[in-house]
């Protein structure tokens, strides 16, 4: 999610160069996202069709997250008209007043989970944290739940969890302590930390980027791990002996915002309305494993039925997962992350 695939940046740069600007286009907007294959997919799914339909030019950039937006807004040097962020970053930035209010007269919010529709930010896609294990070690009898992952006697082997995404690991830890998926939020942070404390001695690597998680599993450095579904899907497609499912996954949303002081606010608003529309949302899973945020996308008939079951935000799969609560983490992130770091760095 936050990792930028440098190969992808080159590809995006290529796309930017080839995007033909209509001679009459009055408006040019700049959209920043995470780069990599994800942004390439967004280009095909959202940016190109929107530019064509609105007759505008969409330039692209890559972001490292909320810090970039904060720097631009507080420094009065806003380069972007729309930028993507993690939902918890949107919630934090909203509290700091870094974004423009969105016009829901233009943006149709039906079909989007109300938890991801806010005055100044809106969801754009979903990533899931899933449990992956190597089938050359466990066959098909690998750990299926986070309680299994925590059970070191029944499932001996090397393990990896995320240290950079403390909130996701704490949600996973809460699930491992036996909570049903609808009882995870609000997370009992001390309880979740106790759960982390039980497993931390058995964690052989704490990953800090999606690429690292992928490499750990791919090279057999670990036998099981928490991993983002996009990375897990790529491993499977590459033929690595792995298995994963959306059971007890942690669904994390990404969101889009218009930074305060954006130069082309009106065009940006229209473009954002297009990005979240069911028609364009339905394009996204055709190119990448990040699921659409608008559930009406599944009713457009664009997504082949056999593809739907592999998409993390398909209604069937959403039922099996916990949705990360951005507003909960907005207020607790700093304290929880410090406590988490303290624990795992002991």
């Amino acid at each position: 999610m936050k990792t930028i695939n440098s190969l992808g940046i080159a590809a995006v740069a290529g796309l930017m160069a080839s995007a033909a600007a209509p001679a009459f286009a009055a408006d040019t907007i700049t959209v920043a996202s995470w780069g990599g294959t994800y942004q390439e997919a967004q280009t095909k799914a959202f940016f190109d069709p929107t530019a064509k339909a609105l007759g505008i030019t969409i330039k692209q950039d890559t972001t490292n997250g909320l810090d970039d937006v904060r720097l631009q807004v507080t420094g009065n040097a806003v380069k972007w008209d729309i930028t993507e962020l993690g939902a918890d970053e949107c919630a934090r930035g909203s509290k700091e007043g870094l974004f423009e209010k969105l016009d829901y007269g233009l943006i149709d919010k039906s079909g989007i989970n109300p938890k991801l529709v806010h005055d100044d930010w809106v969801g754009i896609s979903y990533t899931s944290v899933v449990l992956i294990y190597r089938t050359d070690v466990f066959g098909d009898k690998g750990p299926k739940t986070w309680a299994d992952f925590w059970n070191v006697e029944k499932f001996p082997g090397r393990r990896a969890l995320s240290s950079s995404q403390a909130t996701e690991t704490l949600s996973v830890a809460a699930l491992a302590s036996g909570l049903p998926i609808d009882k995870v939020y609000p997370v009992d942070i001390d309880g979740a930390l106790k759960s982390v404390d039980k497993i931390r001695g058995h964690v052989d690597a704490w990953w800090t980027s999606g690429a690292q998680a992928m490499q750990l599993v791919k090279d057999g450095e670990v036998d099981m791990a928490s991993i983002w579904n996009g990375r897990a899907g790529t491993l499977k497609k590459e033929g690595a002996p792995v298995s994963f499912s959306f059971d007890q996954g942690v669904l994390t949303a990404d969101c889009m915002v218009i930074p305060k002081g954006a130069k082309n606010k009106e065009a940006a608003m229209k473009a954002l309305a297009m990005f979240v529309s069911p028609q364009l949302q339905a394009n996204l899973p055709l190119y990448v494993d990040n699921g659409p945020v608008n559930e009406k996308a599944f009713e457009t008939g664009k997504i082949p039925p056999e593809r739907i079951k592999d998409i993390n935000s398909a209604p069937e799969n959403v039922k099996k997962q916990v949705l990360q609560d951005a507003e909960f983490w907005r207020d607790t992130l700093v304290e929880a992350t410090e406590k988490f770091n303290n624990l795992i760095q002991q």
């Binding site: 090279d219 992130l333 700093v334 760095q345």
Partner: protein, 307 residues
Amino acid sequence: MSAPSALLREPAGAGRDLNAQALRADARRESLRLLALLSPSLFLVFAIIIVPIGWLFWLSLFDEAGAFSTSNYARFFEQASYIKTFVTTFKVAFIVTGACVLLGYPLAYMLSQLPRRAASICLIFVILPFWTSVLVRTYAWLVILQRKGLINSWLIDLGVISQPLSLANNLSGVVIGMTHILLPFLVLPLYASMKTIDTDCLRAGMNLGAGPVATFRQIFFPLSLPGLASGVVIVFVLCLGFFVTPALMGGGKVIMWAMRMEQTTSLYSNWGAGAALGVVLLVVTLALLGLFQWLLGARATGVWSSR
């Protein structure tokens, strides 16, 4: 400067005071002129070193809300993991510096004893890794050291071990990766200083009846100390700020100060939180360097004057 002061003592009699005054005025003019000549570079140092460091220090005194506070420093004492990170950083720096000395000293010694041609070919191999990115080298080590990597699969195939060794994603991985990257920084200054050691001194020692070991211990080694000291200082200081290698090879279990700075700055969305870490590292490093200078510098100059 020493020339005029030596002259001051020379003249005797009544003309002495007058002369001394004129000389002193001359010396003052001279040093002012020197200062004026130096001022562009002094200004540069001020603008790109003193000002940013001062700014860093200033920033570290403000909390998220922009209010004056010591909360960025208080955090170190409230949370055990900061102390732990700090200790880890210095532990890694000591181990890596030690490993570099153990590997680098014999290497530099060998290079200095080789004929010029062979030495320059060997030096190319020392410098070669500089031309590859740190990131690439770190990933290469990961491929070699990990559980199903080259070393473990060879050792298992040869029947030396039955269970793979844990070489990556822990302290040993970090130390191996960093030692490889930092070794040239020790070898190059050391080699340079070894080359300047006068072989006549060694011959004189032999002539006076010292064996090879005694010659090395009593003459060559002390004379190589200044080069060793500068190499050690460079490696040690570079270690303290290392990021990429521990981040990739440590498996999240070896957290060094620079990694903590990155974490802290983005977590608190406040430059001050990271700046405070920078200030602490700077102060402790300077203190250690001062100590180092005092210990090794005294020995090195001691050798120099006895010669």
